[in-house]
């Protein structure tokens, strides 16, 4: 057995990343399922999908099933977005300029699924598979690079990439959340293999890849990544396996949705239920829940600690984040889980003033990547991070810092400056095709000038999409 494992280890290609940062935060989830959420209201949110202009397909009062189309992409109408549960459309929430924000569905007690019929994946043609994926709403799980938007069904990607682990702060453990999904994952992989000649690539964590359910899959090329966050970001993995050049298109899928794609073809239903980690220092119970995307934060009210505590003698509320602390969305206590998120993080709002904080020799409660405070002297310590900006916005001053947390052959500051200057050629040359917001999230975290890095990247991607359209 041991020898077998050794041989496999040799066969697996290891990629070691030195740059990056694991932010030592308190509040990771214990490996147990605390609760299965039986939802009262589920929201389907067009805002979860980057760059999407939705076209609404339901009206208030309509009854829907799991897999019923709620809205479609206005410019690519074949791409549908579905309800994850059965029930009645309770309300349609719009924002400024009548922007469609949420379609709230009052859920039935038990889920009634639309049947899309099972298929023999190996015999079915690519077109048949694509049709079912599009109709069911699961196509939205397939993301294209560059830009990180929903893939175009007409494209043939160079390859498809799956990151088998998440390295973000307090991220869920895929070895735990996917452990019962091996058959579904294999079916999903087989479906994805139909869409590309380049093959499906899988990145695993070199520390525990042998324990990963994904390690047992066939028809994938597996790589092991070793290093701190963002080693688990699929964008970083693509950069080291097969970087995206101009004109290249690759696809990425979250492994949770690979399993859902498998289920769609083996069981014929749109079942996107998943295990979500409830994390963060303000959660009273840090554990996993079984739920659907679009679940309400009210359903985990019993997971939250006291609504208000004191920090430096001033009140601090809870921030509800759908996703992780680096790239998740602030949804508030009445918000809903995002489509792509497998984690909910509850942390303190940093609405406090700290007297001469910047001048203290040490701030034992604060973490810093730099060695200008003392946190580097206590490497094992975990911190109670809050949302305080810890400073004010300034121009770029410190250099060489972003590079330390970005394991890519990219000069982030120059890329950001090219974006700010809206210089398309330079953006192209400096790597805009290879990054999405989350890949540079750590740059934003460490920045002493508090520059909104992800917002700038987002702007750059939008410029490129417009330019290339």
């Amino acid at each position: 057995m041991y020898i077998c494992a050794k041989i496999f280890k040799i066969m697996l290609e290891h990629i070691r990343l030195h740059r990056g940062l694991d932010i030592p935060m308190k509040g990771s989830a214990e490996l147990r399922i605390e609760k299965t959420i039986v939802p009262d209201v589920i929201a389907v949110k067009p805002t979860d999908f980057k760059g999407l202009t939705p076209k609404l397909m339901v009206r208030e009062g309509d009854t829907v099933k799991a897999g019923s189309v709620i809205f479609t992409d206005k410019y690519r109408p074949e791409i549908a977005f579905s309800s994850p549960c059965s029930g009645t459309v309770e309300s349609i929430v719009r924002g400024e300029k009548r922007k469609l924000l949420q379609i709230r569905i009052k859920a039935d007690r038990t889920i009634d699924y639309i049947s899309f019929g099972t298929k023999d994946i190996f015999k079915a043609s690519k077109e048949e598979l694509a049709k079912t994926l599009l109709e069911s709403g699961l196509w939205a799980a397939i993301i294209q690079r560059p830009y990180g938007i929903i893939a175009n069904p007409a494209d043939q990607p160079k390859a498809i990439f799956i990151s088998g682990f998440n390295s973000a702060p307090l991220a869920p453990d895929t070895n735990f959340t996917l452990k019962d999904e091996i058959d579904n994952l294999q079916a999903g992989i087989d479906v994805l293999n139909k869409f590309t000649k380049g093959g499906v690539y899988l990145g695993l964590n070199s520390k525990d890849y042998a324990a990963s359910p994904l390690y047992k899959l066939n028809h994938v090329k597996t790589y092991a990544f070793d290093g701190p966050h963002p080693a688990g970001n699929v964008g970083i993995q693509i950069h080291h396996i097969s970087p995206i050049g101009k004109g290249d298109i690759v696809w990425t899928v979250d492994p949770v949705y690979v399993a859902a794609i498998g289920k769609l073809f083996t069981k014929g239903i749109y079942d996107v239920s998943k295990l979500v980690a409830v994390t963060g220092s303000r959660a009273s119970k840090n554990a996993y829940i079984k739920c659907l995307p679009g679940m309400s934060m009210k359903d985990i009210a019993d997971f939250a600690g006291p609504a208000e505590i004191e920090i430096y003698g001033q009140p601090s509320a809870i921030r509800y984040i759908s996703g992780d602390v680096l790239s998740g969305d602030n949804v508030g206590p009445d918000g809903y889980l995002g489509f792509y998120h497998n984690q909910i993080t509850l942390i303190s709002e940093g609405t406090h003033c700290e007297l001469l904080g910047w001048a203290k020799l040490c701030r034992p409660k604060k973490f810093s990547f730099s060695r200008s405070y003392c946190s580097w002297l206590t490497p094992g310590k975990k911190y109670d991070e809050d949302t305080n900006l810890n400073g004010g916005h300034r121009a770029f001053v410190v250099t060489g810092l972003y590079e330390k947390v970005l394991p890519m052959d990219i000069y982030p500051v120059y890329l950001l400056k090219a974006i700010l200057a809206e210089d398309i050629d330079k953006m192209e040359q400096l790597g805009i095709y290879e990054v999405v917001e989350e890949d540079l999230a750590l740059c934003e975290f460490v920045c002493p000038s508090k520059i909104d890095v992800q917002n700038i990247v987002s702007k750059g991607i939008n410029i490129m999409i417009k330019e290339m359209a």
Partner: protein, 385 residues
């Protein structure tokens, strides 16, 4: 603390836009954020942020300058006692130096910060912390006898022409502190060169001068072919020179702080030293014995402003090369140029200031080629087909 916070919050509306003193909101904000890390929370992007901010970066830099400043203060008194043959205790020297240094420091900060506050006010920005470092560096690279009005002019020139016209801290091309010195050097050369200006009172001969005392810096002596102090004395720093530049030892303590905290780039510092040694030894190899060029290369590291410039100015993140590879080239060229200027420029024995300012100018060019290299490499990358 609560009382103070309440007071600040009470005053805030008066100084906010629309308030009675709304036009002073940048100034108020500067003092408020000086006292308290503000209660601003993240809105977009990453929800949590590192506890470091520019105030911290700059205060670490100021902290790192303090050993050199402290030594400089003592040395003012010490050189004064040597020049006039006075018998002064340690504390008498420190006090004497402090009294001489304080007005320079005050003028530097008052004029510099005054302009910074005014321009932040005009732009409606938050006041930037950059001048906190320049403000202490400028008096340290001046001769002790520099007239206060010249210092004030130099500071004003550096802040307005060197920094604010480009958009403030982070946007400037040249190191503001060196720009102040360059201004004084070119506009008032008689006040910043010669042998008599480095020691308090020497120029005006306030007291009878001790026998045989010239007051010339080792650099000037080396260029003139006069005997210079031994290496150890120059390393410790009880020699004439600009206030903060003389003690390599004190500066090394500062370098240690900068490198340990990561605020200053060790790559820039090391490559600068390598550059100086490389050129120094090259000239050593071809020099006739007894000439200036034959002076062992490592002497250049402890003479004049080399150490001070290397540790506190070459590492300035804004004006140095911004890429890590670029920093190696940038530092090396500064070191190499400094020694070259020292050996071949008969008019002025110090090369550090001009070498840094020149390389400040070329730093974007160095970065440009590093980035072009990156672009070419990225195009050529091997990919799986």
């Amino acid at each position: 603390m609560k009382g103070l916070l309440n007071l600040v919050n009470k005053l805030k509306p008066t100084f906010s836009k629309g308030g009675k003193l709304g036009f002073l909101h940048s100034t108020f904000d500067a003092f408020e954020t000086f006292l308290f890390v503000p209660d601003t929370v993240t809105k977009k992007g990453a929800h949590i942020r590192d506890s470091i901010d520019l105030k911290r970066v700059m205060s670490v830099a100021v902290f790192a300058v303090l050993p050199a400043a402290a030594f400089g203060i003592w040395n003012i008194g010490h050189q004064h006692s040597l020049a006039f043959g006075l018998d002064m205790t340690f504390w008498a020297k420190v006090w004497f130096g402090f009294i001489k240094f304080l007005p320079l420091l005050l003028v530097s900060y008052i004029v510099g910060l005054g302009i910074e506050f005014a321009s932040a006010q005009i732009r409606g920005h938050e006041v930037n912390e950059g001048y906190l470092v320049s403000g202490i560096l400028i008096p340290l690279i001046m001769p002790v006898d520099v007239p206060l009005w010249i210092l004030a002019l130099g500071v004003a020139f550096a802040v307005i022409i060197g920094k604010e016209v480009f958009g403030g801290t982070g946007m400037n091309i040249w190191n503001p502190a060196l720009l102040a010195r360059a201004f004084v050097f070119f506009a008032y050369p008689s006040h910043i060169s010669g042998d008599a200006i480095w020691i308090e009172g020497l120029k005006d001969k306030v007291l009878p001068i001790a026998d045989g005392f010239s007051g010339a810096t080792p650099l000037a002596n080396a260029a003139a072919g006069v005997q210079i102090p031994d290496f150890m004395q120059m390393f410790i720093g009880n020699i004439p020179g600009s206030i903060g530049e003389t003690s390599t030892l004190a500066i090394l303590i500062g370098a240690f702080i900068l490198i340990l905290t990561g605020v200053g780039s060790w790559k820039s510092m090391l490559s600068c030293v390598i550059g100086a040694l490389a050129v120094g030894y090259l000239f050593n190899a071809f020099a006739e014995p007894g000439t200036y060029a034959a002076l062992p290369a490592y002497y250049h590291l402890v003479m004049g402003g080399f150490a001070f410039g290397t540790v506190y100015m070459v590492t300035d993140p804004v004006t140095s090369a911004q890429t890590e590879k670029g920093k190696w080239i940038y530092g090396f060229l500064i070191g190499a140029l400094t020694v070259t200027i020292r050996l071949f420029n008969p008019g002025y024995p110090e090369g550090m200031m001009l070498a840094i300012l020149l390389m400040n100018t070329f730093a974007p060019l160095i970065d440009h080629y590093v980035i072009e290299g990156n672009i070419k490499r990225r195009v050529k990358r091997a990919v799986i087909k």
